[in-house]
């Protein structure tokens, strides 16, 4: 599995797709972080460091989830479309190991991309005179990785059996619900009826990815952390990974 994972990662790095998506993310993050292009709310600029840091942290989580979908959507389907899978199957590699290695590469690629964005955020903190945050950003990064890994693994697992369009739609629903958990909690009671019931159901089964990101932020700020969310996030990762054992291709 390590061989498959490292090969997929190597290819991704050499293909430079990682750099392109990360550059987009870095630009977006820097855009938000620059004083001259501060976000305005009701005409007033949102300039305080803490607020900007929080906004950028939320943005990194959102961009990370988007990157997770982009980087993970076609990896496994491409292997089968190009029949690369033939030369792997004939060598007696089980589907679990094969798909697992590819999924791991997806997760790692996503984590690396988010790591680069996190470095940018750390740079922002240092420039703004809050270098003390940098040390805490290491464990906080690991928490954010749980969030984006969940999206990456979810997409990877579904892509084994479902067409890309369907996987993409479900990924958007999954990641969207996750990052907008708080907003949807607000909406569910105002919407009511079938809509409200659907939203409630989704909120029950999909983890609060924004909440996870918030725990990372709380860790950096020295505030209270909800350990339950972290445990549940890791458990959700484990549950999604079971899909690697369940979903199998009938033919190479």
């Amino acid at each position: 599995m390590n061989t498959i994972m490292s090969n997929a990662l190597k290819e991704r790095i050499r293909r430079k797709e990682l750099y392109i998506v990360v550059v987009i993310g870095v630009l977006l993050t820097l855009f938000c972080g620059s004083d001259s292009t501060s976000i305005s709310i009701n005409g007033e600029p949102l300039v305080s460091f803490r607020n900007m840091f929080m906004v950028m942290h939320i943005l990194i989580n959102v961009i990370g989830c988007i990157l997770a979908v982009i980087l993970s959507l076609r990896t496994i389907p491409n292997e089968y479309e190009r029949h690369n899978s033939h030369l792997v199957w004939v060598r007696g590699i089980s589907q679990v190991k094969y798909h697992g290695g590819l999924a791991a590469a997806n997760v790692l690629a996503t984590a690396i991309s988010v790591g680069i964005l996190y470095v940018v955020l750390a740079g922002y903190a240092v420039v703004k005179g809050h270098a003390s945050y940098v040390l805490k950003m290491f464990p906080a990064y690991l928490i954010v990785v749980i969030s984006v890994s969940m999206v990456s693994l979810f997409v990877s697992v579904l892509s084994i059996c479902l067409p890309s369009m369907a996987v993409g739609a479900m990924a958007v629903l999954f990641a969207g619900t996750g990052v907008l958990h708080g907003l949807l909690e607000l909406f569910k009671s105002t919407v009511g009826g079938v809509g409200g019931a659907c939203i409630s159901f989704l909120l029950q089964i999909i983890l609060d990815l924004n909440g996870l990101q918030k725990q990372a932020y709380n860790l950096i700020m020295g505030e209270h952390i909800d350990a339950h969310l972290l445990w549940t996030g890791l458990l959700a990762l484990w549950v999604i990974s079971i899909g690697l054992f369940v979903f199998k291709k009938k033919e190479a």
């Binding site: 061989t3 498959i4 090969n7 190597k10 033939h86 030369l87 004939v90 009938k250 033919e251």
Partner: protein, 227 residues
């Protein structure tokens, strides 16, 4: 060595392989001939368990290693030839040192340079050679070659056939599928001609050694007129 009995496969109700039986004898080259859509590739894929058979039995002796060279090989374009062999060698649990040594030797054997050229710059013929090289990793007992000469120029085909002949002499059991009947004539020991999933005719080397070419046998079997 490898025995196929009453093999059948259907896709959406249409039989693409119909009650196929043959035996690959040890140290011999068995040829699968037929027009496009005859069921040759599907047969190969069923033997390799890339596709599930509907009916029939495939008997392969235990611990028989099979190398496979696909018709249209795809390798990651950003790897070099050596890296491709190293990757597949690692999947076969070949040690790093052995992979390096074997990789160099195999590249040389199939006529490829170990110069760090990336796959994306490989010609079709080079890809075909690399496909054979990766099939030989781990020194398998049997080889399944799907159109190994496709895309090769005349010289390349001669070299490839010579190589296949040598592999046969080394005792490897080979199943080969090709459109180029003249090439098949030079290397195969026996074979069969398929059409619409069924066996039209079986042949032995002696059948076309006596002056009747394999092309004539094929045309007679398939029912076309020779121009």
């Amino acid at each position: 060595m490898v025995t196929i009995s009453n093999l059948s496969k259907s896709y959406k109700g249409k039989k693409v392989v119909d009650d196929l039986s043959f035996t690959m004898k040890e140290g011999q080259l068995f040829a699968l001939l037929g027009s496009n859509g005859a069921g040759k590739s599907t047969t190969i894929k069923m033997i390799l368990n890339l596709v599930k058979k509907d009916e029939g039995e495939i008997t392969i002796p235990e611990n028989t290693a099979i190398g496979y060279s696909p018709e249209t090989p795809y390798f990651p374009p950003f790897l070099t030839g050596m890296e491709v062999l190293s990757y597949y060698g690692a999947l076969q649990n070949i040690s790093k040192k052995e992979r390096t040594e074997t990789g160099k030797a195999l590249l040389e054997l199939v006529g490829l340079e170990n110069d760090g050229t990336k796959i994306k710059f490989y010609s079709k013929g080079m890809l075909q050679r690399l496909a054979l090289a990766q099939a030989l990793l781990g020194d398998p007992d049997a080889l399944i070659l799907d159109e190994p000469c496709a895309g090769l120029d005349a010289m390349g085909r001669i070299e490839m056939l010579e190589l296949i002949g040598n592999l046969k002499k080394m005792g490897k059991t080979i199943l080969m599928n090709s459109h180029i009947l003249n090439d098949m004539e030079k290397v195969c020991d026996e074979g069969l001609i398929m059409q619409n999933g069924k066996v039209l005719r079986r042949f032995q080397k002696e059948d076309f050694d006596n002056g009747t070419g394999l092309e004539e046998i094929f045309i007679k079997a398939v029912g076309g007129n020779r121009k």
